[in-house]
Symmetry: C3
């Protein structure tokens, strides 16, 4: 099954790649790697999940935020690679969670992205990952994720 | 125009690459990529901008700090590549902003670096970027930036 | 001397690579680079150093935590590369230190990892590095480190 069909079968969809803001771009390819910019839980122009975890937002809601960030990362990759079918392997996620002092369950939040990638890509979705607590994130987002993927060789 | 002349025309200059501290180095090349160490707003041996944004330092001042961090990243690349003219593309910035809880305008701070790179390098300066709030940074710096660049192929 | 013998001569050892948790893996190779997941100061199934620096844990103890994180990064690389002797160069460390607001001595903490790498690998252990204060880390760990290494070419 093609990757976007797989995503639809999960009840999800890949948004249009975010438009460039200021002097940076959503993603960039160098060699066979694509590096995305940090993506926030933006959907239809609105940040859906904001605030610090767990004082202003539950870890469970932040996990949903991580799913949206992950889809936005894939949208950024698609904008560079043309199609998600060009992805050979998800290499690395860095998941920043807007964290109140003492919060230590960043991994549960990050699993929202990691488990989604495995559902979509199977073994090719298994990646290295860091989950880190941030003191603040753009527009008070609950989560920000950046991704590195490897593309398939061109024939 | 050569890149360092372009930088001078903006009223700026590239400092001498920072000397190695402890067992790490300012930048390292692998393949055609150069990874810099995190650079702080150090100028002539002094950290020019310290403290948390916005409680101890304005976002506008932190933006100036980001410019200096960016020049220090370029100095680190120059120390490895010999010349800034060897840069083919700025690939990625990670911008850590020393943030008070609830601060969410890391992107405005990071634009100090991103917009400077576009002024210096034009389209080759457009990069992927993450802007993240840190709970603290080395020597209480207001901003810390790390950079990945791609070098031109050797003839 | 082989690298694991060198590590033993320092009174240290490389643990078994951590088992995969959730849908991510301890490290992944792409081209000649290996990216590790963020590693915490886990030893024999216990996080040895937890809490914010310096309010709950001294910088000196956090430095010891950084050493353990570093050994766990090497274990993750070994799990992918088969042997630490396959490492050509340590490229990059990102060291996140669980930091109370105002703490700025992340570099001293990170030196626990950087200096250990130089002891083990000599000049090949010299790397680029960022040291950053986190508002929280997985399981309240004091330190989290991720590593990029370059492997030797296969014959």
């Amino acid at each position: 099954m093609l990757i976007e069909e797989k995503i639809k079968s999960l009840g999800l969809s890949i948004p249009a790649p975010a438009k460039p803001l200021a002097a940076y771009i959503p993603a960039i390819q160098t060699g066979d790697l694509v590096f995305t910019s940090g993506q926030v839980p933006l959907q239809d122009g609105v940040i859906l999940y904001t605030g610090q975890v767990p004082t202003e937002l539950s870890a469970e809601d932040a996990r949903k935020a991580a799913e949206i960030c992950c889809l936005n990362c894939l949208a950024a990759v698609k904008g560079v690679a043309g199609s998600l079918d060009a992805i050979d392997r998800i290499i690395k996620l860095t998941v920043f969670v807007n964290s109140a002092a003492g919060f230590g369950d960043q991994p549960a939040v990050a699993n929202g992205a990691s488990e989604l990638l495995e559902k979509i890509f199977g073994d090719k979705g298994k990646h290295a990952r860091s989950a880190v607590g941030a003191a603040g994130l753009p527009k008070n987002s609950a989560v920000e994720i950046e991704m590195i993927v490897k593309l398939k060789p061109l024939n």
